[in-house]
């Protein structure tokens, strides 16, 4: 097993409830992995454990060859692991370009400088334009994020995660609440991401999942139900049971 992200026997209990229960999975570099499962399957909890938003009750997480279990949120992000959120989580009073620039400059030591203008951070500034282009917000750079439409805010949400230049991008339902056209645009955006960027995506829209993912992991009650290439998962009767119920 030689994955970019390796998770072993990861668990998280909330009191008596086990939200994530002994999950093991490995995501290879350059892979695009989707995580699906019904509501309450523990998908977002799994993300929160990976990114340090929650401390695991047990198990370990190795990213890029080094353990990251229990590291603070910002330290995990610095390793090259960036995420977008299910609920839009942008900087509403800052402009689109400032939103992206803050994310792009996060890894720059220059962010502690008290004197001098932000123009000095030329690397991040260049990346702002690339990312804005990629997420389709080039025309909206000066607009405060709070004034963007819902769909645009979702694009910015992904853009902020992208702008940090991650090795692994975790996307938590990027198309949540989007109209069909917006979903289509987001899918195209994600499909167009550079292949070097490994993708781990939680998604409910099966069209998005099947058009993007190389492999799919199905979570059910905090445990891995099955894992495999899209066709195998699609053909697995247990997956239908989980989603539609057994009927009894």
């Amino acid at each position: 097993m030689n994955g970019l992200l390796e998770i072993e026997q990861l668990s998280r209990y909330f009191g008596a409830l086990s939200a994530v229960n002994g999950v093991s999975l490995a995501v290879a570099a350059r892979e695009r992995r989707a995580i699906i499962g019904p509501n309450g399957a523990g998908k977002t909890t799994l993300f929160n454990l990976i990114t340090g938003h929650l401390v695991p009750s047990g198990g370990r997480i190795v990213f890029d060859g080094a353990p990251i279990t229990g590291l603070p949120i910002h330290a995990v992000a610095r390793r090259g692991l960036s995420r977008s959120f299910q609920r839009t989580n942008v900087f509403p009073r800052l402009s689109v370009s400032e939103n992206l620039r803050l994310a792009a400059a996060a890894a720059e030591p220059g962010s502690y400088r008290l004197i001098g203008s932000i123009g000095a951070l030329s690397g991040p500034l260049a990346r702002v334009h690339d990312v804005a282009e990629a997420v389709g917000l080039s025309e909206r750079l000066g607009e405060p994020a709070g004034r963007l439409s819902y769909g645009e805010q979702r694009q910015l949400e992904v853009g902020i995660a992208l702008a940090t230049g991650p090795k692994l991008l975790l996307l938590d339902e990027p198309t949540a609440g989007m109209s069909p056209e917006e979903t289509h645009r987001m899918t195209r955006l994600l499909a167009g991401l550079p292949r070097e960027m490994t993708l781990l995506i939680i998604e409910h829209d099966m069209d998005v999942v099947f058009s993007l993912a190389d492999r799919i992991t199905v979570l059910h009650y905090g445990e891995v139900l099955t894992e495999g290439p899209p066709d195998a998962v699609r053909a697995d009767p247990r997956v239908y049971e989980v989603y539609l119920g057994t009927g009894d």
Binding site: H74, A77, L102, A106
Partner: protein, 307 residues
């Protein structure tokens, strides 16, 4: 930016020549405005940019003031009058900040308030700090052979120090660090998620604000020639808070305007009536209700002035 620098230069020149045209009392009022203005500006860095509302900013005003008072008696110079007081304030801010930034909102307000009141209680009891009478007869420093006891040279010295401190704060809010602070103010959890060690930035902001507040306290001691435990009192923090809000939170320049409005109003009202606090309270209520953006916010709304 050029317009702002030009306005700053014109304002500085006007302040510099003010003593040529005005009597002692107006000059003293202007000097108080400068000192309270820089103190309020340092608080605005925390409140308006980093989103950290401190109710204990008086701690650094007092620490700067007491350090200068103690040291100036021994050897009155730039080191004892400004540099060491600023350094001591920095250390104090590092310690107080280390504990305070762990919490936010109301708890941050209460913790910073508690620290400043602790300093008040200690100085009020400490015989070596003159207890409740404080330290009096503090000499003004000598600088490059110039005795700042001279009113004219003291005025220029005050203006230069305040002007440099204001430029420094202005540069801080425009720097990469200042932008990080605005990000933290807007969405702290997202800043963490993209990789910022948010607590370290908050602590640094707290120290920068503490240093400038300490300079304000040191200058105040030199202006009035004394310092009392009242410098630490919560009213000192509260007045700075009012100045920031009246001037316009998150504008820096507004804090100086707020200090001017506050001190001029205080001087004007108290010459007519004893009820200064009542008038102040009313003014504050009117501002919060009808001009929540403060003086700067109201001006921007009226003439379409942009940040």
């Amino acid at each position: 930016m050029k317009v702002k620098l030009l306005a700053f230069a014109v304002l500085t020149a006007l302040v510099a020549v003010f003593p040529q045209f005005a009597g002692n009392y107006p000059v003293k009022l202007l000097q108080e405005i400068l000192i309270w203005g820089i103190f309020a500006m340092s608080l605005d860095l925390l409140m308006g940019y980093a989103g950290m509302v401190s109710f204990g900013h008086s701690a650094f005003f007092g620490i700067g003031g007491y350090t200068a008072a103690l040291l100036l008696a021994g050897s009155p110079g730039l080191l004892t009058g400004l540099v060491v007081p600023a350094a001591v304030s920095a250390v104090a801010a590092l310690v107080i900040g280390f504990f305070s930034i762990r919490v936010s909102g109301v708890y941050f307000i209460m913790l910073t308030l508690a620290f400043s009141q602790m300093f008040y209680a200690v100085t009020f009891q400490a015989a070596w700090l003159g207890a409740e009478d404080g330290i009096v007869g503090v000499p003004r420093p000598r600088l490059l052979g110039v005795d700042l006891a001279q009113p004219a040279s003291f005025h220029l010295y005050l203006l230069v120090v305040v002007g440099l401190a204001a430029l420094f704060l202005w540069s801080v809010v425009r720097s990469p660090f200042g932008h990080v602070l605005r990000g933290i103010h807007d969405n702290e959890t997202r800043m963490q998620a993209v990789g910022y060690a948010v607590d370290r930035y908050k602590l640094l902001a707290f120290v920068v604000a503490g240093v400038v507040a300490g300079l304000g306290g040191a200058l105040y001691t030199q202006l009035v020639g004394s310092i009392t435990p009242d410098a630490f009192l919560w009213t000192t923090s509260g007045e700075a808070l009012l100045m920031v809000i009246i001037g316009g939170t998150g504008t820096l320049g507004g804090a100086m305007l707020g200090a001017a409005a506050f001190i001029l109003l205080q001087s004007l009202v108290s010459s007519y009536t004893e009820r200064w606090m009542t008038i102040l309270g009313l003014t504050f209520i009117l501002f919060v209700l009808f001009a929540p953006g403060g003086i700067v916010g109201a001006l921007r709304g009226r003439i379409g002035l942009r940040a």
